[in-house]
Structures are given as C-alpha cells and as structure tokens.
C-alpha cells in the first residue's frame, strides 16, 4: 500500500512473465479469452459497445465496497460522452491481462489507489474510444470527423443534421486504429465524473442475487474445510483420516502443504463437521512459547535502542531536548488488529493436468494468479483466476493469497473436480495477516514561550514489508513505517514544521505474519503524533487548535482541512452540556484529512461518541457521495480498533477466534458523521482509507478533554475512563 509496494513480488513475477513471454510468444488462454471478446465490439481495452447501446467498461481494479468500480466507470464514461444510464462494467481476468501485455495495468486494489493510480490511462481509454466512434460515423457519412459532435452516445453531423449512435458504429469503430493523441476534459467541464451518481452495483446486493466468492457454484463441485497449525510456523505432524472418512458426505481427507489438513465433502457443513472430529497432531515449532508479554518486552527494548532507521530529521533534536525549558515525554502503543472481512477467506479451484482455474475474491488478481501458478505446477498460460465479488478486503485479500494456494493444492488431489475451500471464521481469525504491532516513545521540547522546538518520535515494532515483501526494504529500512511522517513527496507529508526533529524506527519483528490493514501504518503514526500534539499543547498551556495551526503554517492543505472541521464543529464555542471535543489531522495516500470528535464520558466511565465532523481534501472528488460513504465507514473501522481491537498471543497462537472474543462496533456505538468533501483540484488523492487515521486520535483527544485522562493505547475496553 505504498509506492514501493506498487508491484508486489508475486505480481512482479506475473509481470515479468508477461514481459518475457506474453504476446511475443503468442500464447493465449482459449478457455477464458472468448467470453470477454465475443460479447460486443471492443473499441479498445477499456470500452465495448453493444448493438443495444450498452457500454461495457472494463475495470482492472476491484470493487470491495469502496466504490472504485463506479468511480472508474464515471471517469471513462465522462470522456466517452456516453449515456451513463447505459453503462455496465466487466472484470478482465489476470490471464487476459498477461496475455495482452498488461493492457489493463495493475490490478492491485490497495493503498487507496484504485482511482488515483488509474484515472489517467482510463480517461484516455474513454477519450480514445470516443474519437474512434466519431471517426467511424464520419467515415460512414464521408464527412470530416471535426464536423461531428457527440452527446450521450448519439453522434451528430452538425451541418447536415444526420445522427447515429455508438451502438450502430461500434463494429466499424472497433476496426479503426487507435488515435495517437487524446485530449482529456478539464475537470470543471465534467458532467458524470465529479457528480454524486448512484453506485452501479447496489441492486443485486439487496435481493441476494449478488454472487460473492463464497457463493460460487460449479458443476460437480465439492466443498472443503481446513485447519492449519494454529501456532505460527508450526507444521502438520499427523492426522487419523479414518476417523473422518466414514462420516456423512466425506470424500477425502488431505494434507495441504506442510502445515494444514483439509476434509473434502459434498457440503461444506459436512466437511467442517468431519474436520472437527478429525484427530490432528501438530508440530508447534519454534514459536510455541510466544506470548503478547514477550512481544511487548521485545518492543519496549526498541524504544530506547541505539540503532534505528531514520524516517525524517531536521536540526539537532538531542540539543533541543537537552536545552528545553520544558520536556514532555509519553509512551504509546498500537496492538495487532485482524481484518475480519465479513466474508471469510475462500476460493474455488479446478485442476487438471491441462489447466488450473480459480474463482475467488482478491484485491490483486495478478498476485492470486501467480499463487495459483506456483501451487498448480502448470505454466501461467494454463492458469487463470476469475474475479468474484469481495465481502470486504481491507488489505487481507491484497498481498497474501494463502487461501488460493490451499484451494489449488486441495483441487490437485481431486483432478477434474472443482473444490470450494471455505475458511471457518475461527480459521480466518487464527490465520490472519495482522495489522502490525508497534509502540512509540515521544519526547517533545518546549521553550519558555511554549513553542515546540524539538520532537523525537521513536517507533519500535513490526515492519510489514519485512514480512510480506523484503525486497521492498531499503538497506533494511522499511520506508512504509513512516507513512504520513515523510519530509516531502506526494504520498504522506508531515504537516508540522519543527526545527529540531527526529522520527526513527527500531525494527522489531515478532514471528507473526503482518499485513496491510486498511490505513496501514498511518493508523498508529497519526494516533501517536496527534495525541502527543495534544499533550504538548496542554503542557504549553495552549489551545490544541492554535498550537497546531502555528506549526502547520508551511502546509496550507493540512491546515485547511483542520480549519474546516474546527469551524464546522464549532471549536472555541461551547459544546452541549457534558460533551467535549478533540481534534486530529493527518496526510496519507495523497489526501489530507482532519476530524473533530465530540464525546461524553459518564460518571461510570461509559464513553459515548456523539458526533464527528470530518474533512477530506482528495484533490479531485470523482464521486462526492461515495467519498462521504468512505468517510463514514472509516470511522466504524478505525473506532472498532480503538474500542475493541486487540489480537493477543498465547502459546504461539492467537487468542481471539470469533466475534464473541473479537468484538466489532455495532450500530448503537456509531456516531453521527458529518463529512466535508473539499477537493482543492490540482492532485489526485485516495479516499478509501485516509479518514481512518484521524478517527482514533480525535476521539482520544476528546476523551482527555472530558476526563483528564490520556489513553495512549487501545483498546478502550482495557481503560478506566472514570474521571481522574
């Protein structure tokens, strides 16, 4: 979810295969290509137009709730000048992408980059298709294309008044050469993009007709349930297949790789029932004694360790702290979090020695394909992955396709029979790729006038890249650790100008698989910094808003979103009786976000989050209504982590196994959310994650205002919020 990770190792392998072989070798994937290509004339890779005027927009990225599908279709339709009511979408497969030299670009849908990283080539695709369709009409009429105009898919030759439509000229247009240069519209002229149009994918979500990965049905399909060694790094020692084999519906009991066993049956429930009855012995391996306490000690040591990777520095922080009129210190922490997608991991695979096909929910179908290729033992041109709708992604389905690997390995045991592997919720929770654990030691220096003269932010804890993509490390340093704290760039810049600054990272990697969890390292970085900013303001005897404003003077976009929430929330004016406010701002994934939370805390210590005002400047707002939905949802995700989220380890195993021990925020705790979407126009920022960064710190700062208590680590279930 960072620039450095743009091409994951696995998708890089696919990309390399495409570059090295691909079209040059002329391989094709006959069992997948036709379905797409034959359904309508293809104007170009992005646009097909059917005779009935339906416009099919191809989507490389994937929809998982964040609205990208609709947003990208809006951008193509805008340049195409088609009738929005006639637009539908289609996913090409990664096999097709490989076979066509990655014409649809990167499939990875993570890092809030669905729109911001593909808008340019997709808009150009729409514009090129428009020119070709107009040219086809002009050719038919024998007139210059320049005399023709188009609106809502109807082409008009102005001098003669003749008209035709995209559907009528699509076949001819599909045979024309693509134009070399295309002009994109000025966003101020947009009529479809930039508008709060309804999502394209809602109707089927309301009557049960939408097919998610878990709903896939194939002829003759069997179902599999699986258990992997619950201790990370452990192996499968033995199992007594005879105990399960005679149970109803059971077809086969199979070892999966070196650390898991699966039961295949006619139904999943029977597979799971038999698996639960199966005696399994594990070799728990080297991590059998791992505990949260041990991990905590490991990270604590890093808070004061000599060696650390530097993320951002200025001046001489040691001297500033030594010479401070007032020194402020605090330690923070952020526990492991599980993605907990509503749809547990699953995949359906069909293997023969001629081909391997996978139907699954993935945030990166190219990586899923690479996983399937590796597991299948077949060459890439004999494999493909059909993208299914995702019941949530949040990063879990982006980098690790462990569930795809397992499904293919099981299917290999049953050649010719499609097998659907579904993880139980317990399996899903025990085998996550968790939001990494970190701690931070914050030291600030204030001068006699309460000005911040120095800040040392020492992060200690787990690197995601070290776990999922070690090639992305820079001489051992994980640049993604410093999300939102960078000195420069367009991704996530520290907004505060502090004369003496050191932000560094003591990497401590417990043997727990880390992953990109919606918001990623911005989550804890914003929490540490924004809560400590409040502590500094308090120590300086200053208003938290004024204190921040002065330090943000060189970063007007950071300042603008902060000012917007302060103004709308009424910062500086009395809140309702018993209600207190807290602020936070942060920049990540190219966007600027801020929040002002209003909370009350009862005498019994019960927290109520009443209202949150949130602002986002994402440069261009392709669909303001969907951005507002992402802002609202981000609070549920970020505040669930703050209120409840903590994955703990005991005896090498995750202690939380289901939603009864890993609680989620529900409707009764959801605050009112007032969104301010304020695109300032000259850049493209993401929207799927950024608001999460400010959710927890804004609420924690409001809790301090209400109670005088600084809570420096979640979850709040562990905190006593009764007034100090």
């Amino acid at each position: 979810m960072t620039a450095a990770l743009d091409v994951s190792r696995r998708s890089f392998l696919v990309g390399s295969a495409a570059a090295a072989g691909g079209l040059a070798l002329g391989f094709n994937i006959p069992f997948t290509r036709e379905a797409l290509a034959q359904s309508a004339p293809e104007i170009n890779a992005w646009v097909m137009v059917r005779p009935d005027e339906t416009v099919v927009v191809r989507i490389g990225r994937v929809e998982m709730g964040q609205g990208t599908l609709t947003g990208l279709a809006q951008l193509v339709a805008e340049e195409l000048e088609c009738d929005w009511a006639k637009v539908t979408t289609e996913y090409p497969t990664p096999g097709q992408n490989v076979a066509r030299s990655r014409v649809w670009g990167n499939f990875q849908t993570a890092g809030s980059r669905g729109v911001r990283d593909s808008h340019d080539y997709m808009r150009k695709g729409g514009a090129a298709a428009r020119q070709m369709l107009i040219q086809a009409a002009a050719n038919e009429w024998g007139v210059p294309a320049g005399e023709c105009t188009v609106a809502k898919g109807v082409i008009t030759h102005s001098p003669s008044g003749r008209t035709t439509s995209y559907g009528k000229v699509a076949e001819a247009a599909s045979k024309l050469e693509a134009p070399k240069d295309v002009q994109l519209k000025d966003p101020k002229d947009w009529t479809i993009a930039g508008k709060p149009v309804k999502r394209l994918d809602t109707a089927e979500k309301l009557n049960g007709s939408q097919i998610y990965s878990i709903d896939v049905k194939r002829p003759g399909m069997l179902n599999a349930a699986i258990k992997a060694c619950p201790v990370f790094g452990g192996k499968l020692k033995s199992f007594d297949a005879a105990q399960a084999q005679g149970m109803p519906g059971v077809k086969k009991v199979v070892a999966v790789g070196d650390n898991a066993v699966a039961v295949v049956a006619d139904t999943w429930w029977r597979a799971k029932t038999a698996l639960d009855a199966l005696p399994i012995e594990w070799d728990e391996g080297p991590n059998a004694a791992l505990s949260s306490e041990g991990i905590d000690r490991m990270l604590k040591e890093g808070l004061t360790a000599e060696q650390a990777f530097v993320g951002n520095q200025a001046g001489d922080v040691k001297a500033a702290i030594a010479g401070a009129a007032k020194k402020v210190e605090a330690e923070y922490g952020f526990p492991y979090q599980h993605h907990a997608t509503m749809e547990p991991m699953n995949a359906t695979a069909l293997w023969t020695n001629e081909k391997c096909e996978v139907w699954t929910a993935t945030q990166n179908a190219e990586a899923a394909l690479a996983t399937a290729v590796a597991a299948s033992g077949l060459p890439i041109e004999k494999c493909d992955v059909y993208r299914q709708n995702l019941g949530g992604g949040f990063g879990r389905r982006a980098t690790s396709h462990d569930y795809v690997r397992q499904a293919v390995l099981i299917a290999k045991e049953m050649p010719g029979t499609p097998v659907k592997l579904i993880w139980s919720r317990e399996e899903d929770m025990l085998h996550g790729h968790y939001h990494p654990i970190t701690q931070a030691k914050m030291v600030g220096a204030l001068d006699a006038d309460g000005n911040l003269t120095g800040l040392h932010m020492r992060i200690s804890g787990q690197s995601i890249l070290a776990g999922v993509n070690p090639q992305g490390l820079q001489n051992g340093r994980d640049p993604a650790t410093f999300q939102g704290l960078n000195p420069s760039g367009t991704e996530g810049v520290l907004g505060y100008t502090i004369p003496n600054l050191l932000i560094d990272h003591a990497m401590r990697n417990p043997p727990i698989p880390p992953g990109f969890w919606r918001g990623v390292n911005n989550n804890q970085n914003a929490l540490y910094l924004e809560c400590f900013m409040d502590e500094l303001a308090q120590a300086a005897g200053k208003d938290p808003l004024e204190f921040r404003r002065k330090l943000l003077v060189n970063h007007p976009k950071h300042l603008a979103v902060l000012n917007a929430v302060a103004e709308k929330a009424g910062w500086g004016t009395p809140a309702p009786q018993g209600v207190y406010r807290g602020l936070a701002q942060h920049m990540g994934y190219g966007s600027y976000v801020a929040a002002c939370a209003e909370v009350s805390v009862g005498d019994n210590g019960v927290l109520k989050i009443h209202r949150i005002v949130a602002a986002t400047d994402c440069g261009h707002a392709v669909n303001p209504q969907q951005i507002a939905a992402q802002i609202e949802g981000s609070f549920a995700y970020g505040l669930t982590a703050l209120l409840y989220g903590e994955i703990t380890l005991k005896d090498g195993k995750v202690e939380q196994e289901n939603f009864d021990s890993y609680q989620m925020m529900r409707m009764d705790e959801m605050p009112a959310v007032e969104s301010i979407v304020m695109p300032s126009g000259d850049f493209w920022g993401g929207v799927g994650e950024p608001t999460i960064f400010v959710a927890a710190p804004a609420v924690l700062n409001a809790i301090f205002a209400a109670t005088g208590k600084r809570i420096r680590s979640g979850p709040l279930t562990k905190a006593d919020l009764r007034k100090a």
């Binding site: 097919i211 999943w268 509503m342 409707m667």
Partner: protein, 152 residues
C-alpha cells in the same frame, strides 16, 4: 429427510438433524443470499425469518424447525425487490461491499413488521448485525425512510 418450508415452497432435505439452517439454505436449497459470517450468532449475516421472527440461521439446527414453520430468506422477502426497505436501501445507496446487507435487511424487515414506526433507540436496540464497511448510519436512515414511506 427433513421437510422445510422456505419462501413458500416445501423442500425435502437430506441433512443431519444438527445441521444449521444456514447451511441447508445455502448448500441444499441453493439460496446463497443468506450469508455465513461467524457461525456463532454474533454477526447476523445469516439472518432469516422464521415465522416472521428475525433468526440467526447459523446457530439454528434444522431439528429445531418444523415443516409448518415459515422460513423466509432474502430471496423471498419480495418478488421484485419492491419491499420498502429494499427501495430505501437503493435510494440511499446503503451497501458498500454488501455482504452483510441481506442480513441487515432481513433484521430490519422483522423490526418494521413488529414496530412500524421505530425510534432511533428502537432501531439501534434491534439492529445488532455487524457491518465492517461501516454503513450503520445509512442503514438507520434507510429504515426510517422505509418506515415513513409505509406510513405514507
């Protein structure tokens, strides 16, 4: 064989008596709009109506359901997505990933059946299904919209 009445049709089902209703609906009947989320009646993605009562089908063994009891799944809520809640959900663009939404709608439908004009407090007390995308505020607004249309 077990006999179950689902969306007005009687089905003969070959399943062990302790099989949760959810898996019979999904695997034997083939109606996949009802979702598996947790298996322990925590998340509500599997919500169906049993004699009009919102029920978490993942934790209800089929042995506890008689053939006379009327089971309704999302596919049977309305023939053409015309239930006031489905229309309100569409109007307010409620779903994100959508996985929990069929369960949310079934829970809301039972709520409105019992209480046609629920207050905010009534809604949050009854609507305890989990949504990881965080569509809670839009769900609440859609329930109120549907309730107001009903009163229309």
């Amino acid at each position: 064989m077990v006999s179950l009445t689902i969306n007005g049709t009687v089905h003969q089902v070959d399943a062990e008596p302790d099989t949760p209703l959810l898996w019979v609906i999904r695997e034997q009947i083939g109606l996949t709009g009802t979702k598996y989320g947790c298996g322990v009646a925590q998340c509500g993605a599997c919500t169906v109506h049993v004699d009009g009562v919102a029920t978490r089908s993942c934790s209800l063994p089929i042995s506890a359901v008689t053939s006379e009891q009327k089971i309704v799944t999302i596919e049977g809520l309305s023939p053409d997505a015309s239930h006031p809640l489905q229309k309100a959900w569409l109007e307010l663009d409620v779903p994100q990933c959508g996985y929990c939404q069929t369960g949310q709608i079934m829970a809301a439908a039972a709520l409105l059946q019992a209480n046609p004009s629920p207050s905010d407090g009534d809604i949050v007390a009854e609507m305890t299904n989990i949504c990881r995308c965080g569509t809670y505020n839009r769900i609440k607004a859609a329930i109120k919209l549907a309730a107001s249309e009903n009163r229309g």
